[in-house]
Symmetry: C2
Subunit: 499 residues, 2 copies
């Protein structure tokens, strides 16, 4: 074991390198925010080169041999828990990066770039056959990628861990399967219900009106405008650091609640980022846990606050003022929670059926990557599953298996994190309500400070100190479970639809 | 001499490296644009780290030993003129970067950061003595910097070449001295003139009104909105690439022509950037020449178009519509060209007296760096020169030698490029009018295409292929000269002030 001063010096050098890595990655985040929010389209060729150059430098820093040497040295050193966590996180990223050959990274990046126009064209023409070969290439490349990282494990598991490293594919699969089995009957009952929920909206609402409304939603929820901003983007997202975490939204003329829900969703992401400790910026202790946890924060605010009756009892007046409507809190609540029995499109799905869209994609991509499904079978399997899970069948592949960009981007294993995040949100919701007994009263009074503090204290401030499963245990006192989500969904939607 | 295929392969590797360098630098440009235009203030600590990390990587690429080896190899190779120009430009940057020790770069960066609050405080308190030690340290560091680059040459010359490498300090000094000698009598005569120019503005004009006006100014001048955007910033600037060159402006409530002039100025910078060849993006052939040339493009449009009577004969109606005024073209023209005989502040100076502000700074910073002037003498010398050149004496150092941020930023040798750019703008103006005989008629008709094409053809499209002096020769058929500027100023202002 090295002497203390040597250890400290190694750790400091290591940490300085790690910080540079994070800073460079966040620099690229700024380039991407700008590209999606501010940049004129004509800037694309130059931005692609700038972004790729910065990514290459990031990759060089991550695969730097010195980093491997420091990690090995620190494995033998006497470190505290927090330092040990930093080493764990960096080792994981470093090892994945060094195991993948540079030329494979480049081939994947090139294949994804080339795939984009092919996918767009195939979707526009509703012609899956024009896309099949491209999809096959992407699947093959990602299997090669998974094999490079670990040839002895299920390639889908390896890819899933790219987005959610610490929940375990078995746990994830159990949760998704249980949701499939238990939500399908609930969705069937809702479809059979005679109840029709309120829809207080008529006509269209212009962008300025909707902007004013969502700005006020952010205001009342306590968004820290001094460390963020609100803009529009074709595909809303949130990005940034604990010093500057920004929100984007978009407006659909005839669905003002879409923007409200989407904005509150991104607010949830931003509050997670803003709750990370500032003094740890640039280290894993000042960085978010992975996608499931991030999504749990957005879904918590979107679903368990923004879609609740108490929230609308508080916010209906404001919404009416902006929209010129005269709807009751109950009407807003019902409109925000309608379950669509005829929707084929994931991004337009309601809170409940959304998960069937995800589970379907998860099953298909898992089988593709594992080699249990051929690319040509995808449209048929997709449509069969849609019929089985949601009772509807797409007429076209454009509305079916060609609708999402994820696979074209080379992302396999990403979809499940959407649902896992919602499941975790419900688990957190259960426990925050145990700790804050008058949760609903606080929401009804527009007081969100204590809820916010609970999440910061139980989740945000830890950064990536704990692995995901340990963080869930730490925050809720139990393992990751679908129980609370299923209870929540059952209770809420059976009441709403009287079924 | 290497074989052809080896040469080509060396050049290609070299060029790929050079492109990466440019891409990374432009990425940092995006971070800086965002910081000045979009970022909440609280983002500063994180942005500083991101920007510094990217700068460090840029510096590593620039000082890379392989780059030095390729340059040496290419010196022996059989290259075309354009390739030779690329090698020349990259060698210059590479050599300057490798000669300066990393720790000196860091000490300068740190000293500038530390100097900023000291300067702000000293300016706010009007207390030069609180800033003197800081200024001395900055001067010493920059002398050390110059000595590292070339111990055998005048340190001010070396620093000046950081911003304008190819005009020669002697030429620059001759031009500035000639301006000093010839403009002082003109300014005196104007001060003695009984003429008072029109001022058609009363009251204040809100930001939206001014924004509409400058947007339309950009429109009529032919700004390519598909490759740019207009925003506001505390200190207007333009930045970007030939794919995306953006303009910023600001609004003073009671001086709407300030925003018009400033916007047209930045438009000139942006048109230069947008005129660079796209296929050469990332190489010196697709990059701008240095600061004097850039400033010549902004000053050309600001002064020789935007401050001309024909422009206001075209634009007065539009301006009246936006501002709710009823002023004649002549009134706008006069208001845009008023010479202030009592202004102490550089950034508020008119077209003519501006240069006396610059010449004064040039003389002082030159003498400081050369060791011919002590820091403690700066306030006295500053005030004496103000009196000598402009007939006014600052009551406070806040309105005197503490007014600019440049020295605090560690920039010595930068100021002269402002005036050299204006001088070059007048030289280009003389020649473009020889080639476009009906220049004024075109401006009066709002037709700017041919003028724009002339500048693209004679200046922009060359990128940094030619050195500055060769570019001037190429574009105008003569060497850099103050003749045209002095003729222009004399003729215009003696007519305006009847003196």
């Amino acid at each position: 074991m090295a002497r203390a001063s040597e250890q400290s010096s190694t750790y400091e050098q290591f940490l300085d390198h790690v910080r540079q890595l994070h800073y460079v990655q966040d620099a690229n985040g700024v380039l991407q925010w700008d590209q999606q929010v501010m940049m004129p389209d004509a800037g694309t060729p130059a931005r692609a080169k700038q972004s790729s150059a910065v990514s290459t430098l990031h990759h060089d820093l991550l695969t730097d041999e010195r980093l491997g040497e420091w990690l090995d040295e620190l494995d033998e050193a006497d470190l505290g828990d927090e330092q040990r966590a930093v080493v764990r996180e960096v080792r994981r990223d470093h090892e994945r990066a060094v195991r993948v050959p540079a030329d494979l990274v480049e081939r994947i990046s090139e294949a994804s770039s080339n795939a984009l126009p092919v996918w767009k064209e195939a979707k526009a023409e509703d012609d899956f056959s024009a896309y099949a070969e491209t999809l096959e290439e992407l699947v093959d490349l990602r299997r090669e990628y998974a094999e490079a990282i670990d040839p002895d494990r299920d390639p889908y598991e390896v890819l899933f861990e790219e987005y959610e490293p610490y929940l375990g594919i078995d746990t994830a699969e159990d949760v998704l399967t249980r949701l499939r089995d238990e939500l399908v009957p609930l969705i069937d009952d809702i479809a059979d219900s005679d109840v029709s929920l309120a829809d207080p909206f008529e006509g269209t609402y212009d962008d300025d009106t909707q902007h004013g409304l969502v700005e006020e939603a952010l205001d009342v929820l306590g968004y820290d405008w001094d460390r963020g901003r609100l803009d529009t983007a074709p595909h809303p997202f949130s990005t940034g650091t604990q010093f500057d975490a920004r929100v984007t939204t978009r407006f659909k003329p005839d669905e003002p609640l879409d923007a409200v829900g989407s904005t509150i969703h991104e607010f949830g992401h931003a509050t997670y980022t803003l709750g990370l400790p500032q003094e740890q910026y640039g280290t894993p202790l000042g960085s978010n846990r992975d996608l499931s946890v991030h999504e749990s924060q957005s879904r918590f605010w979107e679903n368990h606050v923004g879609r609740s009756l108490p929230f609308w009892e508080f916010f209906a007046g404001t919404a009416n003022d902006h929209l010129g409507t005269d709807a009751t809190p109950r009407a807003f609540y019902e409109a925000a929670n309608e379950v669509y029995d005829d929707n084929l499109i994931r991004v337009e799905a309601d809170e409940l059926t959304y998960h069937m869209h995800i589970i379907l994609r998860f099953e298909i991509e898992r089988d593709l990557i594992r080699g249990d499904l051929d690319v040509e079978e995808v449209p048929q399997v997709w449509n069969d599953k849609m019929e089985e899970y949601l009772g509807i069948r797409p007429d076209t592949d454009a509305e079916g298996c060609l609708q999402d960009i994820h696979w074209t981007n080379g992302a396999f294993g990403y979809f499940p994190t959407y649902t896992l995040g919602s499941v975790l949100a419900a688990q957190l919701n259960h426990h925050v309500r145990q700790d804050i007994a008058d949760f609903d009263e606080q929401v009804r009074a527009g007081e969100f400070g204590e809820i916010h503090d609970w999440l910061t204290d139980h989740v945000h401030r830890h950064g990536a100190r704990y692995t995901t499963d340990d963080l869930i245990q730490e925050a809720t006192g139990e393992s990751f479970t679908a129980d609370h989500f299923l209870d929540y969904a059952d209770e809420k939607y059976r009441a709403l639809y009287d079924c």
